[in-house]
Structure formats: structure tokens, C-alpha cells
Amino acid sequence: MKTLKYFKKQFAVKHFISYFVLIGVILVMAVLSATGALSRSAYSTLTKIGYSMILAVSLNLVVGFLGELSLGHAGFMCVGAYIGCFIFNLLEPVTGSGILTLIIAMLSGGVSAAIFGFIIGVPALRLRGDYLAICTLAFGEIVRNVFKNLPFFGGAKGLNTGLFDRTTLLFVTLVTVLVVLAIVQNLIRSKHGRAITAIRDNEIAARAMGVNVTYYKLLVFVLSAFAAGLSGVLYGKAVGIIRQDNFSYNYSIEILVMVVLGGIGSMNGSLIAATIITAVTVFLQNPPPAIRDALNLGDDTLAIVKTIAYAVILILIIMYNNAPVFAGLREKLSIKKLFAKFKKKDPGNISADEAKWDRITTKIEMDEVLRVDVKKREGELTDPDKPERGAK
């Protein structure tokens, strides 16, 4: 069967490694929570990591694959959180506060965020680069302030949604991460993903090849906003009260830092970076009392440090990735090279043992190199019509 054959041929473990790890995490959590080993704060931290992962993965789709900088991701999350949790509150008397209501709330939050994603996607067709970033930034701030001034969403006091059952919420979050990751990765590794990457690489050429740029830009914005909306609802149910100032510009930057730290265009990187950044944030917001006393700090001094730290991380990563000064260092530390070193021992690396210079293996290699050279030259002489490889 052609389908199966193709699947086997194209199958690569590295494409699925994140799924295996996530499923592993879900199983471990199931065991831990069944034995009651997870504390209250562990549940909240893990849920926070989960919805941060959704945010990072969905923003990476826009930044890494469509190649547009969006600074309004917290705005989409805000829309999802408010509308999803509002619907949750409405449905609660009818369907109870079970998992069904949560799923309906998540879908409605996601869809409403997706509608806003569409609205933002329309200017994205005309604007690009910094200008689009400013546009999305303004969108995030506007949305937040609109919700702040709508009385039936609780106004400045925030929308009270009530906490959801911790255990169920954690598993719903982790499963959502898995689903969102699968959908985004499947999209990227398909002809649609190629079209999206083509737009990023060269929009003019993509258009000339018949790629429908309008459709794909809107698709990416809608999909990424939908995922952000889902994570907004999860956030709302995890914290119990939605306050608009949590969705400020700083939060959008925090998500962007996750994407940049993990590597733009790398989904696995986004997952890891979301975990690290969220864990660090939680640590800085609630440092263990021992450390706080030892450093003699106020209650939220470390939380302020966090904001500075993100800016510094962002600047350092961008400098490291782009400055010519670091070119040598980048080469040396590139993950591909480290892996190559790890996988096979380099037979040419014999500097430690000088006696090995006389060993035959090296000589054979040299001979081979020479023979290839000679062959190539002969080929050139006998067949002058064949264009030389690498000629300009």
C-alpha cells in the first residue's frame, strides 16, 4: 500500500520524539498524582508550564515559519480567557463544572480568539516586519483595555471564574499540548507547511509559484490565535480570576523569549524553553523563604529582576546568533557538530597519540583522497562537455 510505504520511508524518530516525551510526562504525572505525591504548587506550576508550551508552540508557528513578528500573542490569550471563562460561567448551572463544560469553554475561547486572529491577519497581508509587530502590539493593548472597561467581564476587578479541579485541569492541559503540537507539526510537515515556509523565504517567488499568500497568512494567524485562546481558558481556570493586567505587553514578550530561547523555527526548542522560562518565573515569583531571608529581599524584588532578565536574555541570544564576532564560537558550539562528535569517533583525530601518524588507515585515506582528485582531473580531460561541479 502506497500510503503505508510512504509513511515508513518518511518516518524519522526525531519527528516524534517530542510526542513520546510528552506522553511519558503524562504517564509519570498520572502515577504521581495517583500516589498523591504532587503538592498543590506542583500542580499549578505544571499547568502553567503546559499552557506556556501551547503559547510558545503557536507563536513559533507565526515567528518561525511564517516569518512575521507578532507581539500580541497575550492579546489572543486574553480574548480566549475572557470569552471562554465567561461562557464557562454561563454554562456552569446547566452542564455542571465538569470536563465537558471546560472543553466547550476552551473551544469557544479558541474560536473567539481565532476570529481576532483573522482580524489581525488582514493587516498582516499588507504590513510586514517592524510595522506588523507594532500593529500586533497595539492590538494586544487595545484588547486588554476593552475587556478592562466592559462591566459584565468584571471590569478592572477581573472576571471571577472559580478554580477548576487541579488534577483534571493538569491532564486536560497536557493533552491539549499534545494535540496542538501534533496539529502544528503536521501542518508544517505537509505541502501547506512548505507553502508557508516558502512565503517566509521569498514571498515574491512564492507568489510566482502560485502559492496563495493571502490564504496561508490568514490560516497561520487564525491557527495560532486559536491555540492561544485555548491556553487562555486553561490559564483562567488555573488561576480562578482573570485580571487584564496579566496580559500586558510584558507577557507577550515573555512568550517571545520562549520562542527565541528555544530557537526560532524549532518546536522542540519551544517546548523546552517554555518549561525553563516558566519554572524560572515561578521560582522568582515565589522564591523559597530560606533564599529570600538569606538575600534579605522584599516580597517581589525577584519578580522585578525577571523582567530585566528577559530583556537581557533576548539581547544576548540575538547578539550571539547574529554578531560576526561570535561566528567562530557558534561554529564550535553548534549542536549538530556536538552530536556528530558524540555519535562517531573521528578516526582522523589522533593528536593525542603521535605514533598513530604511521598507521596505515591514515595513509589509505590520503591515497583515496588523491585518487579521487586524479580521477576527477581525468574525467575533465576526457569529457570536456560535462560542466564542472561547483563552477560558476
Binding site: 509513511f7 496539529i183 505541502k191 523565504d201 521569498n202 517567488a205 507568489r207 502559492v211 560558476k392
Partner: protein
């Protein structure tokens, strides 16, 4: 005149006060290799831009197979059957060679699975991906790029990048192929090679090819008919021998 594929009627464009192209009347018949030559700044690439919908002609119009395409978007024009390559190579640099071609195949009617099918990996997705990859490999074989299929396109040597651009354009299954200086930057051997490929394309794929080129050896060896442009005006028109020996053309190139 039923076999005319591309017809432009008094096609022209002006940017502000500058008339880049004026009153261009081309008639390219099916299966023809048509050349568009002229000194730098003559407006040749602008003609291509108008024909592919990058620039909207300010006067006149053009027809492909009797259908007016003026005012259509680039994507729509590509789907109607005009594909092009670029003077300054525009490959998808972060993609492998085979994927570049697969982007070109993207719009073919046999590959119409929607985003939903791909997101949820329905069987149709795998079928189409397999067929698409096979077809892309077939196209790469024509251009002698099969061995390089998994390399990043930006790592290819210049001549191969040019060939890949043509391969990618061919993948969109065009009726009319526009080649913008296909031999620029190639050594004589590669140019010869390219000439064979271009001829093969016309014969095996029933393509009509309109090309811009500065290499007169290439043009006169390949084209059936040429039009010479200078400062947006049509100077001469006819077979390569006729047009290139036209006194006006010689004056434009060499001076009095």
C-alpha cells in the same frame, strides 16, 4: 491565427513620468522559442513583471490562449499557465532542492488536499505526499539535479541554482515559461547544457518559452523569433538574423 498562445496588445507601463515600456505588441505562437533582447534598462524584465502580474500595466492588455489576464493576481496568472524564473535568483533558500520543486507542484489539480487533511494526517495526505515527491524527483532528473535533491538549495553552485529555478517553474505545469536571463553567470559548457535542456523542454513538454538573454550566441542558437527592445520601445522584430542585423539594433548596441 488560432495557434497564438500569448498576445500583448499595445502593452505599456509608466512609473510616474517614466514610460518603462510602451506599445508592445507580441505574438508568441504555441511551441515557439521567443527571445526578448535589448540593452540594459530596455524594460525586458518589466515586461515579464507585467505578464506575471507583479506590475499592473497602465495601458494595453495581454491574452493567454485568448483569455485576458490583465489585472489578475500573480497566483491566478500562475494557475492560468504562466510560470517564470527570476533574474536575481529567488529560491527558497532554507529548503532542500526537492522541497523547492514540491512548492512548485503545490497547486496542481491532483494535489488538492486541504489544510485540514494534512493537520489530522488523513490517508489522503500520505498518498498525495508520496505522489508529489515522486513527481518532484522526476522533474529533478530532467535537470540533472537528482543527486542534489536533499541539499539545501542555497548550497548549490550558481548554475545549478538557475536550473533549479527552471525546474521549480516547470513544476507548476505552465503553458508559457518565462525565463529571465537563464544563462547569466554560467560558463560556456553550462550554457550549452542549458540550451539542450530548453530545447528538450519545448519538445517534450509542449512548452512555449519566452526568454530574456544577453548572450547573443544563446539567443541566435535557440530562438525562432526575437523582439528587440530599447528604452521601452520595440526596435526590431523577426528571426534572430534579421533582427540582430537591423541597423537600428546595431546602433542601439554599439552606437553610430
Amino acid at each position: 491565427m488560432n495557434d497564438v498562445l500569448l498576445r500583448t496588445e499595445n502593452l505599456g507601463i509608466s512609473f510616474g513620468g517614466l514610460k518603462a515600456v510602451e506599445g508592445l505588441n507580441l505574438e508568441v505562437r504555441k511551441g515557439q522559442l521567443y527571445g526578448l533582447v535589448g540593452p540594459n534598462g530596455a524594460g525586458k524584465t518589466t515586461v515579464f513583471n507585467m505578464l506575471t502580474g507583479v506590475n499592473l500595466p497602465t495601458e494595453g492588455t495581454f491574452f493567454l490562449d485568448g483569455e485576458e489576464l490583465r489585472g489578475k493576481s500573480q497566483e491566478a496568472i500562475n494557475r492560468k499557465g504562466i510560470a517564470r524564473t527570476f533574474q536575481n535568483i529567488r529560491l527558497f533558500v532554507n529548503m532542500s532542492v526537492v522541497r523547492n520543486v514540491m512548492v512548485g507542484l503545490h497547486n496542481q489539480p491532483e494535489f488538492h488536499c486541504n489544510a485540514f487533511t494534512s493537520m489530522f494526517r488523513l490517508p489522503r495526505h500520505y498518498e498525495e505526499e508520496a505522489t508529489m515527491r515522486d513527481k518532484a524527483k522526476e522533474i529533478l532528473k530532467i535537470f540533472d539535479l537528482y543527486e542534489e535533491r536533499n541539499n539545501l538549495s542555497c548550497n548549490l553552485p550558481y548554475g545549478k541554482q538557475r536550473k533549479l529555478e527552471i525546474a521549480r517553474a516547470l513544476a507548476t505545469n505552465p503553458k508559457l515559461l518565462l525565463l529571465d536571463e537563464p544563462a547569466a553567470g554560467m560558463n560556456p559548457n553550462e550554457t550549452e547544457d542549458l540550451m539542450t535542456i530548453v530545447r528538450r523542454l519545448r519538445d517534450e513538454f509542449d512548452l512555449t518559452i519566452l526568454l530574456i538573454e544577453h548572450d547573443m550566441h544563446f539567443v541566435s542558437g535557440l530562438c525562432d523569433e526575437i523582439t528587440v527592445l530599447n528604452f521601452g520601445q520595440t526596435l526590431a522584430h523577426g528571426t534572430p538574423e534579421e533582427a540582430l542585423n537591423d541597423p537600428e539594433v546595431i546602433r542601439a548596441y554599439i552606437g553610430n
